[in-house]
Symmetry: C2
Subunit: 107 residues, 2 copies
DNA sequence: TTAATATATCAATTAGAATTGATATATAAA
DNA sequence: TTTATATATCAATTCTAATTGATATATTAA
């Protein structure tokens, strides 16, 4: 039988965080946007004109990515430039690595 | 302007794979099941009696996890024991690390 | 063979997230 | 101020995935 206290408060908080992150990344349009933003800034029109999705859809996905801090933006005149938030990626990467590594091999 | 050839065949295949994986992991019940299975085998009834979700729901999530090879199972009499597929985790972990590291810092 | 236990499957429903269409806001140019 | 361009927001719809309820299958015990 399993220990009833198994899912500690701490663990379930971490599960929630991980779930949120995975859901954001579990959308291929968002993954593609992330790929496009690698090592460069792009404004919304750069993106939607390249990928061919409607402007407001791109804008919505950018908002979702921003909400989890994966990307950030700055305005320059009419245009708003989006870019990878490398610091957030670094943080997420270590959280994920930490989680997944536990399942890499039996100790 | 963005290079039109940017999303290479290879890249979009990788995006699909990553999307599939993230969607599987983007469900907190499945994450919890994964946590429960860390370092031990459990049968379906161990799991659903512990978490309190209906039997068939647990069974369904186990099927989804199995489909992406994150877990495997073996029958022992009436019971079917599920466990982490550590090899698959190792593989996924390196794919993810590879993907995410690209966004860790500008080069 | 019948009954009991463990698990899986399937159709129907529900919930949530993606998409669309229309419109609003912000900035810049005329 | 008016017009044009860039982006965001919002309600409605569509899609997809989770959940439920009922039932099927497999194994074991009686």
């Amino acid at each position: 039988m399993i220990n009833k206290k198994c899912p500690s408060k701490q663990l379930s908080k971490r599960i929630t965080e991980l779930g949120d992150l995975f859901r954001v990344l579990g959308e291929e349009k968002r993954l593609k946007i992330i790929c496009l933003l690698r090592n460069r800034e792009l404004c919304v029109s750069d993106i939607w004109q390249n990928v061919g999705w409607p402007q407001n859809l791109v804008s919505t996905h950018l908002r979702i990515l921003s909400r989890s801090k994966l990307i950030s933006n700055r305005r320059e005149g009419q245009k708003i430039y989006y870019s990878i938030n490398y610091l957030a990626f670094k943080k997420y990467n270590s959280i994920l690595a930490d989680f997944l590594k536990k399942y890499e091999q039996k100790d």
